[in-house]
Symmetry: C2
Subunit: 333 residues, 2 copies
């Protein structure tokens, strides 16, 4: 690998997480220390041009607030929802960003900031963040599950992000775990995401409510059902044996365990890192998960595997995006 | 990579497939042309020492028959059933080779033949064979399913065999495809192998016979039920709508399709190569498989994927084992 000496001397990089709800921008040194962080609503409903303008303004403001000299910044890394054309730096389409079709975001930001820009799938960026600065430091062979509204993933092989043949790898949420399971947003039936994502869990509870099943513990606003169901309360109620939620939560954990067991048998990674809202459950999630994986994976693969919760919380994606810039330098993690 | 110049000039290598039933040994040039091939029964029931002796004698005989000068042979590659300690060249345990525990096969053969010996998992060897000389020539990112008595797999990433953290990767037959499915030999429930391997298919038909379901087309020896059920006849009967076999065959294909779809979403390979007995079905297998994968995998991942049947038939493993020797030379495929 050719080491980029000129850029190796630079001290900072910018990481951006472009989400459907918020834009987060951070200025980070190469050790992963956040110098300045900004979070603004995406306001995606105002359209593509307005959102691009907000991204640009947020990064500018981030630089100004940080007092970092632009010449000391190596570049900008963006974690964005797919499908992306990573090679050409384009967002082809984003379900949560209405009107975004084949947007050359890399070129737009390169022209604006006159620095190197790297675009990456948001789940890959989160995996890379945990690999560089979080739970996976020094681990060259890890798989990260991003457990949020949807479920994504990132695969690190030989210390590099694994992209597959045409940048479509690590769609871990779309592993079929039950061939006759519920329909998933992707069009398939019985995907992991339909069982174990926040949306999947809430949808399945909603269906049970429709079937007339009442909760023994939960109170929620029937009108704003979806919003008023909180993951934490759902898990708490389930642990008390609640009729409405316990089966749904049990299945969510069981299928996630199966997906991790499958990854364990297919990829034999050294570590599986879990990030996202559901990981707030901590050991209450990890203990049954490990049990399921132990039951299903080859013992030698299971024994050598660490299943852990990420250490960077909501910053895994932005930190990983920022760390992308150091990859071809001697400061790479 | 350092190129081994001395050995690059040698012309031949030996490939051995050590199976529970047969030992196959071939002498091959670096382009994959078989100069001489020997197949002898393993006679595993006679014990470890006797089998090792048979391996040694078969290789010696193979060299003699080929008229190749030993000095022209770069070394011996062995494909063996797992679990293996590839790094130390040891067979830890082999269900089909009674009494084999921590056998340092590499060392034994190195001492006997005074040439380089490489040990590899038999399914990885088959994947490497198809990659070097068969359907996957020039494809750097492929996944091979070995569909036989059991189901194994090999994953090629960046033109190299992917082993995982401790040589346990690519156990594709032990993907859980139905959490409440039949018990598998590995101890888990609902593995792909329990549905789509030859043994899985026959076991499931046997269970249906026990339930009193009769075949509309098949005649088989009730006493020697397992042996007399032929995969080809089973598939033929199923296609005619046979009560006994059609559901079993349908599920075997459907779950194999799900497993390939999962690999497509996880690894986004350029090619999936299928080898083993069941692939004699040709397009009758491929067409419904592709349909299942299309239904379940991300479209861009599916569109860029080739699902093919291997071109080397039963020689994939021995050819791959022989090709392992060239990996660190400038003759590597």
């Amino acid at each position: 690998m050719v080491v980029d000496k000129k850029n190796s001397e630079k001290k900072y990089s910018i990481g951006v997480d472009l989400g459907g709800t918020n834009i987060v921008s951070v200025i980070v040194n190469y050790q992963g220390k956040i110098v300045n962080r900004l979070k603004v609503p995406t306001l995606a409903e105002r359209g593509k041009e307005a959102t691009i303008k907000r991204i640009v303004e947020t990064i500018h403001e981030n630089i100004v607030q940080s007092s970092v000299v632009p010449g000391d910044i190596i570049g900008i890394g963006i974690g964005a929802p797919g499908p992306l054309d990573i090679k050409r730096g384009m967002i082809n389409f984003a379900p949560n960003l209405p009107g975004w079709r084949d947007v050359p975001l890399r070129k737009i930001l390169e022209d604006e900031f006159n620095m190197k820009v790297v675009l990456e799938n948001d789940a890959n960026a989160a995996a890379w963040g945990e690999r560089c600065f979080g739970a996976g430091q020094g681990v060259n062979n890890l798989v990260c599950f991003t457990l949020g509204t949807g479920i994504g993933g990132g695969i690190i092989i030989d210390g590099k992000i694994y992209h597959g043949n045409n940048y479509g790898a690590a769609e871990l949420g779309h592993m079929t775990v039950n061939k006759d399971g519920p329909r998933c947003n992707c069009g398939n039936y019985g995907c992991l995401e339909a069982y174990s994502s926040a949306t999947g869990i809430k949808n399945r509870i909603k269906n049970r409510i429709r079937e007339g099943i009442k909760s023994d513990f939960l109170n929620f606003d029937e009108g704003k059902l979806f919003e008023s169901l909180r993951l934490k309360s759902i898990f708490e109620a389930a642990r008390k044996g609640d009729r409405l939620t316990s089966i749904v939560v049990e299945e969510a954990i069981s299928y996630l365990g199966i997906a991790i067991a499958n990854i364990t048998n297919i990829l034999n990674p050294k570590m599986v890192v879990l990030v996202g809202g559901i990981t707030n459950e901590g050991n209450k999630l990890l203990i049954p998960l490990r049990k399921e994986v132990k039951k299903r994976a080859f013992y030698s693969n299971y024994k050598s595997l660490k299943i852990v919760i990420g250490e960077l919380g909501g910053n895994a994606g932005v930190l990983g995006a920022a760390a992308l810039l150091w990859i071809s330098t001697d400061r790479s993690c």
